[in-house]
Amino acid sequence: MKVETIAFFILCLGLVASSIAVVISKHLLRSAIFLALSLLLTAIFYISFGAELLAGVQILLYAGGIITLIVFVILLTERIEMKKLEETHRGVIPALLASSLVFFILVYFTWASPKVQSLAKSPSSSTFGISKTLSENLFQEWVLPFEVLSLLLLAAIIGALVLARRERKEKEI
């Protein structure tokens, strides 16, 4: 057994274990930390598939931005009326059934699909100059979605500001 295979196995195991820890952990901050771990392990997957730029974006935006936001929100709302909140589950059995059904459907259709089978036998796995090709494609073929995305980000910033702003009472004005 090659070292690469063992490392890949450990990586898969770590990703699955940290994802499960995110959904079953009782304490919300702990599950946010496990979410950060799972996103970082996904970045390692990206690097091993030759997507270095995407791994950098993943670490910066997800593990840097989103986890910070989530931790801030948890700390802001952890206590309501001086009562510490305990996280509970509800409807575990139906949720387990539904999610395992989705998992088996996905696995079955990729296992049975001849297209995916031929891809798995001979993946092209070409290692072209990845950042150069990506930026050329992004700014030539995909430039319109890119600009629309910037508009979406602007709308998200304004929307989040308007929603989270505290309304001033009339006396204060």
Binding site: E4, C12, V16, S19, V22, V23, L28, L35, S38, L39, T42, F45, Y46, F49, A51, L53, L54, Q58, L61, Y62, G65, I66, L69, I70, V73, I74, L76, T77, I80, E87, T88, H89, R90, V92, A95, A98, S99, S100, V102, F103, L106, V107, T110, V116, L119, A120, P123, S125, L134, N137, W142, P145, L149, L153, A156, I157, G159, A160, L163, A164
Partner: protein, 99 residues
Amino acid sequence: MSLYPTLWVAFLVFSVGLFGVLSRRHLVAIIMGIELMFNAANLALVTIGWAYGVITGQIIALFAIAITVSEVAVGLALFLLLERVRKTVYADETNLMKG
């Protein structure tokens, strides 16, 4: 690196995220489950793009990451608003739009 194991790991993470969305009560925990599902979808996109040898998978994953970030920002703002107005953080106690 091989195609099938990575795809299955992505599907497993997706199902775990779906389980979290369906079974957690706290709204931030539900948002974290949605994050896991997005993450698994991105991983599957990158894997399939690698197997085809095209860059399009990575570009779509890049767009998906940006869309996820804005979605989480708006979702957490909605959560803060809900916590301030209704004094609850649980999804099953928010029945404002139930008829």
